[in-house]
Every structure is written in structure tokens, then in C-alpha cells.
């Protein structure tokens, strides 16, 4: 770990100002990912601005009939909220399928969106990685990891986004509310919040420097069923090797790309009367497996079709 300083401001404006002013400063929320990465020297902030106790931990109803999840709501809090469980069961299922109870108690809504990939070559600092050192190259390409992207990978990076929650939020068409040092507030669709790697895989989201997520807003739940299912190598405390979220007619896939992957081709096929299996085939036609992750085609085809069958997505079109 590299030496750093720490402070805990009392309000959002001060926190934004500090991170804007101090080179190398970072927001610290639950710390479940950032601190681990600091220990490995993958993250090397000079200064931590602890935002975990800012008054951003409420879950509020919106006038439109949705929910606003404060940035500092914990994963446990959101998953246990009666409104979330009743109206957004896919979100509760997704959160509860991730990490462990202890981690979910600490991890926050905003932090969950900003967690970094679990690519083993990202974690092994003896290997080149364009996320850690832009331009260094990608050791995962030609390596032996099988939990890599089948959609949207580039010559610079084949990592996947590890979040379960973000996959459900994508299917639920959530929005991300932010503020930045100048006092500017923005609203970003979660679907466009994370980026594909391209040739800048170290730039993972559309957040600007010193911009902070203040809330995630869920629109009213869509008509139709919801589900989140996750395939993994053990029953608990493992990252997905593939996951599927369905909310009404919207479908998102996890562990297949550098971002939660909205399955637009599958959605379109469903609208046009395709069966669940046909819809997944339509989506997976664009997949580009690399020889190590080919199993994901069969996995996503079956898991996706099973989820769409369960929710009845596409029925009655």
C-alpha cells in the first residue's frame, strides 16, 4: 500500500471540492473494492475523501412512482427494502446473489457501479494490463482466463464488469444522478454509464473527474415479470460466469462484456414474436468468443431462454 491521507467532510459540496482540488484524491464509500486494490497497489490514491457518512443513504419514492436509491445506501439495505422487494424483485435477487452478507453490509449503491473488473490479469501486477498502465498491453489476451467478454471486447481489453446489481439496474432502465465540483448536476442512463473498452479500457464510465454519483433512480416498474439469475462456480461468494436480468420486455446480460450488456437484439426479436430461445440466438449472433470462453454461448442461450420463459417476456406479442 502506498501512503495516503484521509479526511471525512460533512457535506457533499466540500467532498466534491476536495476531490476536485487535490491531485490523486478519490472518493471512499464502502471501501470493499478500493481498499483491496490499494493493498495490491493497483489503486494508488494520494488522498481519500470518505463520503460514506454523507446524507445520501435514503431510499425515497419518486413522484413518478419509482424509487430513488441514495448513493450511500448499502447493498443490504436496498435488497431488504420492502418496496424494492415488491416492485423490483430482479434488483433484490441480483444484489443478494453477489458478494457475502458482510460485504453487502458495507458496499454501497454507487460503489457497486464503480467496482472494477475481477480479471485475474488486472489483479496480478506482474503482468501487463491496459487498465492499470494504459498502453502496457493486455495479458488476458492469449491467457487462460475463461471469464472474459464475448461482446464488445477490444484488442486492448477483454475484461468483464463484475456487478450483479448493475445488470438488474440496466434491465430496469435505471438512471444515475451525479454532481460535480462546479455544482453541476447530471442524469445519465445506466445503460450508457459504463463504457466498452475500446483503446481506453482504463476509462470505465462516463463520470468526469471529481464527479460523484449521488443517487440511482428507478423508473416505475415495467409491466411484466422480473427475474435475475446468475451462474457461478460455487453456490455463494463467487462472481458470475454469466447472468441474466429480465424486467418486462427489457433484457440485460452480465459477465459477458466490459459493461452490463443490454440485449437489444433479443428484446427486438421478442417484440417480433420470437420464442425465448430464438431471441437469445438473435442476441448471441453478435457474440465473439475467443476460444477460452466459448461455453458462454451455450450458457447464455440456455440461461437467457430459461429466464425469458419464466417471466413470460414476449408472450402475447
Amino acid at each position: 500500500m502506498k501512503a495516503f491521507t484521509y479526511e471525512r467532510p460533512g457535506d457533499v459540496a466540500t467532498a466534491l471540492a476536495l476531490v476536485a482540488e487535490i491531485p490523486g484524491a478519490r472518493f471512499l464509500a464502502g471501501g470493499t473494492n478500493l481498499v483491496d486494490l490499494m493493498k495490491l497497489r493497483i489503486e494508488q490514491p494520494t488522498h481519500l475523501v470518505d463520503v460514506s457518512r454523507l446524507p445520501l443513504a435514503e431510499i425515497e419514492d419518486t413522484p413518478e412512482g419509482g424509487l430513488r436509491l441514495g448513493a450511500m445506501t448499502t447493498n443490504s439495505q436496498v435488497a431488504a427494502d420492502a418496496r424494492v422487494r415488491a416492485r423490483y424483485p430482479a434488483l433484490a435477487q441480483a444484489i443478494l446473489s453477489g458478494a457475502s452478507g458482510q460485504l453487502r453490509n458495507k458496499a454501497t449503491t454507487a460503489g457497486n457501479l464503480l467496482q472494477r473488473t475481477r480479471c485475474p490479469y488486472f489483479y496480478d501486477t506482474s503482468k501487463p494490463c491496459n487498465k492499470r498502465a494504459p498502453g502496457a498491453g493486455c495479458a488476458a489476451i492469449g491467457g487462460i482466463s475463461s471469464n472474459t467478454a464475448i461482446f464488445g471486447a477490444s484488442d486492448a481489453c477483454i475484461a468483464t464488469h463484475p456487478s450483479d446489481m448493475a445488470v438488474a439496474l440496466t434491465a430496469l432502465d435505471a438512471k444515475v444522478e451525479t454532481q460535480s465540483g462546479a455544482g453541476e448536476a447530471r442524469v445519465l442512463a445506466l445503460e450508457g454509464f459504463h463504457r466498452l473498452p475500446g483503446d481506453t479500457p482504463h476509462v470505465e464510465t462516463e463520470l468526469r473527474p471529481a464527479e460523484m454519483i449521488t443517487a440511482v433512480v428507478l423508473p416505475p416498474p415495467p409491466p411484466g415479470g422480473q427475474i435475475y439469475r446468475k451462474a457461478r462456480e460455487r453456490a455463494s461468494y463467487a462472481f458470475a460466469i454469466g447472468s441474466v436480468a429480465v424486467a418486462g420486455g427489457r433484457v440485460a446480460l452480465g459477465a459477458v462484456a466490459h459493461k452490463p450488456w443490454r440485449a437489444e437484439a433479443a428484446e427486438l426479436a421478442l417484440e417480433q414474436g420470437a420464442s425465448p430461445a430464438e431471441a437469445m440466438d438473435a442476441e448471441l449472433r453478435a457474440a465473439r468468443p475467443d476460444g477460452h470462453n466459448d461455453y458462454k454461448l451455450k450458457l447464455m442461450a440456455r440461461l437467457g431462454a430459461a429466464c425469458l420463459t419464466t417471466t413470460g417476456a414476449g408472450d402475447g406479442q
Binding site: 485475474p120 489483479y123 496480478d124 506482474s126 503482468k127 462456480e233 453456490a235 455463494s236 450458457l299
Partner: protein
Amino acid sequence: MSSVKDWAAPTPISENRGGLIGKGVDRYEGRLKVTGSAPFAYEVEAPSPPAYGVLIASPIAKGTVTLADISEARVAPGVLLVWTPHNVPAQGERGAKINPRSQRGSNPALAERIEHFGQHVGFVVADTLENAKAAAALVRFDYAAEPADLIFEDNLDAADQPEGEEDVRVGDFEAAFAGAPVRLDETYVSPLQNHAQMEPCATTAWWDGDNVTVHTSIQMVKGGQHTLAETLMIPSTQVRLVTRYIGGGFGGKGQAYDDLTLAALAARELGQPVKVAYTRQQMFQATIHRPAVHMRVRLGAQADGRLDAFALEAVTHCRRETPFTEHAANFARSLYAAPNRLTGHRLVKLDIPAAGPMRAPGEASGMLSLECAMDELAEQLGLDPIELRLRNEPETDPETGKPFSTRQLVRCMTEGAQRFGWDRRHPKPGQVRDGRWLVGLGMAAAIRGNFLLPAKAGVRIDADGTITLRQGMTDIGTGTYTILAQITAETLGVPLAQVKVELGDSDFPPAPGSGGQFGAATAGSAAFAAGMNLRTALAELATGDPNSPLYGDDPELVTFGGGHIAVDNRAEPLDRLVARAAPDGIYVEGSITPAADARDYSQHTYGAHFAEVGVDPDTGEVRLRRMFGVFAAGRILNAKTAMSQITGGMIWGVGTALHEYNAVDPRYGSFIAQDLAGYHVPAHADIADLSAMFLDEVDDKANPMGIKGVGELGIAGAGAAIANAVYNACGARIRQYPLTPEKVLAALP
């Protein structure tokens, strides 16, 4: 030398008048551990403020360190010392005296020559751990890398017969196999596994003049002491090695690593205590691992299922400079009858970290092959898998013809089948559904050798009646403290609370340590012998003391119980006797050696595993639904700790079948999984309903107490029962472990 016949006589253990033998008493050190007050090696308080050492690892697999620039690190804040291959102090050659086969592992520390990825090339000591870690990042190395052989599967053709290990042949396997009406010829692959102990390797070291004291996490006290003495080029008498609590060993801490060497060297250099611990990543890359094994099984049977021909040939790998054979075929030499037999091993040498023993070495890998092959053969024959095994149950050891000391394998299988509900297994795979899950049942036999090694123990009684057992034995989380307290208390007829146990110190009478499931029998038998010697001393003391009510009695007639020493109805409390007649206390030692005729018997522990799994046809995920095991392992000393050992082994078997493996990157020689997020052992949610039972058994050929080891038996065969259940559930026969969703999905229609 003693004979096993001497061991059949009644003893305080077999009579068990106090009822402590077999009782599920709580762990002796349990309260200390759950309250966080048991000091592990890194946490031991040093006599003066310590410095902190950090190790730097090689990013290449093979080659030479050509440059080590410490100029920046040397002047970084708080830095006390920076060592590289070019300035590390001289170290004595080790291994010749201790165990040339495995102790070579980490000698010397910080060698210029790189033999595997992750080998340590630098060492920084600073006033704080943080400063040491920061400075470690400032040391610059250059390497001359060389081509390396890294991948087992790519080098199978280079497999050689291990030195001194001939194949074992009985009859004419080839002819019998060729002529058998029913044949099976399949190859199974078991995975490379890392020990992944919770507690990393760690040492706290300090010097007092010419003498060094090291608190370290090691399974073998004497081995560690001698190894360090050789490295430091000082007599062993100047090295005190202490290992009170160990957060998991599993065979991976049988030897000394760089933390021990460098903490001791640096503490001497600095004149200050030094602490060194491995990081989680270093635990994967710079200790030992269980090697992968390719196992070809050939079975030739008559139509009624009787085996005519049996062969198990295992190919495994080790580090080029550190020969080690995973004896995956040995167990099969004693398991099933077949007149024509072939077993043997081949070894591939690679430039990766050293292979070495891990819990149930041999059996844990080997039984994954044969116990599935028997399942496959049973299906070919149209027989129930248990029935096939019953038809091949030998009357004597099938290879040597020696009598079994005890063998309750048949009862383990039949009792287990009844209790588990084996009759509900559908003989045809893929027939049972529960919701989306395909459900199947599987079973496998278990066998694991039983061993007794030489050991000593010391026991003293003080004037207050406290009895203290001291032994250079270790407790790696298995319950050794607890069972030694039970044995000592029962032998001397005192309540458990009157007994103290002190372990893990090279100043104490030596025991071989924890490994090979020989610990309880070996250390326990020595403790029992010491206790018996103390009984003799106390009997002589009482019968010779005019103030004792036992004065003048025949010492042979003295009995012990309830904290009293007695003859007929004359008795007095032990503390009163000792306070009066031996106020300085009495100390005696006892020892155990294997009986001269112990090898006249085929001696093993046995069991049978039963598993029910669900397979998700959408994802290929396998989930254990329930598992049950029946075991026969001699007299059980502690129902609770023995059950923990057995079920812990079964859980490892579940992990071996479904989750746990590592793989080597073909370009770098590094393991793909280097932390516990990436290296999957079963989580609680993976182990639904898992239980076990022990059959009543006393093995009077094993040792004076009739006990056997239970630490490794539980893992033997467990994974095969899971794999057989997966086949029964969905019809996918996967012969390459573990059965990950990726492999299961590929095998599903």
C-alpha cells in the same frame, strides 16, 4: 521392540472408567481462538519492538537475476535493510540431514537462480509494515529469462519413472486384461490444488546472544528447528522453534519457507526482533501445491463382476529441482481383489513451484479415478455399484496377502446405503427431476493408510495436583490439544480441568508433528505412555510413603480414578500425595515406537461416501443436496473433533469434485488464481446437509490405544461420490475434475 500383541491388553484407555475417551468435549484452546486471544506466530509479542519484513517475488519462471538496484529502496522512509541475491547473508546448505526430498524447497532464500514464478528475489525490512511495503516497490530488478517447461499436459511425453519407484505387478495384468470379457479403459484427471490455509506462513524471530527464538507456523517442530539451524550454520541447540497455534496446515506447512529463514537472518543482522508474513498471493506462488494427476484405469472383469485384471497408472508433476511423487496409485494396492494387478507412477518435471503433500496425498487424487471407474464398470455389468464392490471384497490384502488389522469397508457401505436411502437411486441416469434440477445419487468407497511413528512426551504432576503434558507436537486446528488432554486425564484418572497441555516447542520431548493422519495415534500413544509411567511413579511414591494409606501395598494393585490413587477402599487425592511426598512435583517421559511386527498387517482406515446432487440443465451448475459418510477408523478419541475432521475432509472432497483447482499460465508460469476470491473452495451455501458416522472399532494392531487417524480419511473418495452422483443425475460422465459448470454444460445434451 514391542509386538502388536502387547497392545491388546486392557488399559485405562480401553477401560475408559472416567468416560473421557470418545466424549465430544469442547476444544481445549477453543475459547482462546474464538475470542481472538490465541497468539498466532505473527501476533506473538516480541521482547522488544519488532521490525517488519516484506518479500519481493520474481515475475519470471526461469532464469537469473542480473541486476538488483536497491539504491532507492535503501533510503526510503523507515527502511532498515534491503536484501537481494547479491547481498543476502550466506546460508548453510540444508536438506541432507532432514528430508532431502522436500526440504530443498526454499533453500537458499533469495537465490540468484530463478526456478519458478513467484520465487522470492528481494526482502525489505522497515520500522513499519507500510514502510516496508512501500520500499519493496522501489527495488529494481533485471532478469535474464530462459525458456521454461510450464504446462503438465504439454509435457506428458517427458514423464519418467521416479527414482527408486518400480511399478508393482502381481500376476500378468496384460494377458488377463486382454482376455477379460468386460473391460474398462479410461483416463481421469485430478486438478492442481493449493492449500489456501487461512493463516499465511509467518514468523516472529529474535536473538538473545547466540540463541535464536522463532515463533513460526509449521507442522513439524523438529524439522523446522534443524532446517533453520543448518541455514544459520549454528547447532540446533541454539534454535528454539515455537509453534503454539497454526491456522491450517494441510501438509503445506510441513517445511520451512523464506519467512522463517529471512526473519531469523534479519533479526540477527539488526539486533532487533523481525516479523515476516507471506501475502495471500505469495501463499499461492511460493509454497507447495498438490499436483495434477493423469490416471489411467484399466479394469477387466468376468460377467459376474469379479475383477481379473486391475491397473492404475498415474502420471503427475513436480518442480524440476524438487522430486516429489503424488502416490495416486498406492491406495489401490489394498482396495479390491484381482489376481492380476499393475500400479505405478510417472513424473513430469516442470519449472513451476514445488509439488508436495496435501491432505491425504495419494488418496485424495487417486480415488477420484478408480472410484468412478468402478461406477462405470458397474453400469457396464448391470450391477449396483455397491454390489460390484462387494463381489471384489478381498479376504486378505490383495497385493501382499497379509491379514487386515481391521477392515469394515463392507459394513461402511451397507450401513451407509441403508441410512442414506441408496435404494432410491434410479439405476438409469437422468430420470429424476426436482423443479428444474436433475437429481442423482452416487457413492464411493474410502481407504487411507494408518501410520505410527516414533514419538516422546513428558508429563509432570505438581503439588497442587495439576498435570501438565508437554510435547513438541503441533495442533494445526485438528484438536490435538484436546485429545491429548483427554488421554492424559483418562490415563491418570483425573478430571479434564486438572490437565494442562503445552505443545509446539522444540524444547519439549519431540513428536513428528501433524501430517499423514498419524498425529493422534503417534502423539497420543506417546502421551499415553508418559501417563502410564507417571502412574507407575505415583504408585511407587504412595506405596513407599509411610504417611500414605497405600503404604506397603503392591504398586501393581494401585488404581487411579476421580483424582484419587487407591488400593481397594484405601485412597487419597493425588494432590495431597504429591504435596506431601514429592512437593517439587514429579516429571516423567514416555515414548512410542512402531511394533516390530506392525508391518505384518495391512492397516488402513475405511469408509463409504453417499451423495445426492442437483444439476441445473440451464447452466451446468452442480449443487450438493446431501451427503453422508460412514467410517471405520479405530477407537474414536473425541466424537466432536473427530467428526469435524471427517466432515471437513468430505467438504474438501466436495470442493475437489466441483470447485477447487488452479491452472498455470503457459506464458508466465504463474497460477491464474492467486487469492481466495478467485480460488474457489466450498462456501457454506455449497454444503447443505452433510453428516457422517463412525462404526464402533478398536484396532489393537495399530497402537496401544487402538485408535487410528481420521484427518485424511474423509477426503478420500468423497469427490468420486459426487462425480458419480452427477452422472446419475444427468448422464454426463466427466473425467476431468473439477466438474465446473463449463464442463458439465459442454457434456449436457
